[in-house]
Subunit: 205 residues, 2 copies
Amino acid sequence: MSAQLLPEALLRVIDELGRLPGVGARTAERYAYFLLRADTRTADSLATSIATLHSGVKTCPVTFALIDANQEVSPLYDGRERNKRLIAVVEEPLDIVALERTGQFKGTYHVLGGAISPIDGVGPEQLHIPELLKRIKIDSVEEVIIATNASVEGESTALFIQRQIQEAKLDTKLTRLARGIPVGVDLEYADQITLSHALEGRRVL
Amino acid sequence: MSAQLLPEALLRVIDELGRLPGVGARTAERYAYFLLRADTRTADSLATSIATLHSGVKTCPVTFALIDANQEVSPLYDGRERNKRLIAVVEEPLDIVALERTGQFKGTYHVLGGAISPIDGVGPEQLHIPELLKRIKIDSVEEVIIATNASVEGESTALFIQRQIQEAKLDTKLTRLARGIPVGVDLEYADQITLSHALEGRRVL
């Protein structure tokens, strides 16, 4: 698209928004045009919040969850109602939000910062695994729930952590989130692997 | 989601991005997290471009296309290679981009600023129709191509403009973009109305 067709300032916003994950040229155009038609305050307010994003967020030194820049440790770690002897290990900070939405989990979290993926050049040394082993010792953790994704990468990572815990001879129970048929899904639409897992993990009624 | 789960600064960005058209909570989370993981410059650069969007863009007083704040008139109007006696009437500024991409049109544009839509409270008085009539007179326009959308609103708007031009007794040819089967679409998948239009507008080979 030549610079003649749209104003330079608009093209710049389209270009920048096009870097967001999954946003193509048309979508970026639609977003930018929306910001242009909305009142100046909407655009200004978005601009300010994005500009202060990095300075307002830091990583918890214990759990590697995202915390406010003025917090010491994640409230999901040192909150009174949280059980430090139970750790859910997740790949990314947003996975915590998903688990917290269930309202079922009262333990603490440990964010790995990804999953082992040779294709993307992510090896175990880039993940916060040594820190996890340290936490298991220091907090006398009784159970570690591996809550990595149900992907090849998530599985390899789970396996790797299992071996590390065994090698370190840590005395902790190791569990994995159950696999099975998601709620609301018909049997006929479930894939083979999910169905195999559902059979394997069947429970007595 | 409680403020405890994610840092305030991140929640603010998620909230603001969630106002973009078609962006739900999960998508906004994904965008915000991408900006957080990207280096500070990516976020800063997006913030700056959004903050300067409104001040960098204005509306062409003749065509109502979007132009640079330092331009007088759209280059698609006063460009030497543009034929001022041929006007394509479109609903929105981005429609110009779509037509320019064809490389087929060397006339000028007129942006209505929407289409007549009683449901959305848009009446003809909110559209740049009087300015179009004026242009037809001043520039001795020979042909006006109505290029509004192929929707009920686009059709009503086309009809309204046609009547206005007749009432004003303007001597100009009035045309409408051809309707028919889009390139690459099988007959069996074309809807009835499109197919009727295709039959009606059939051409001698």
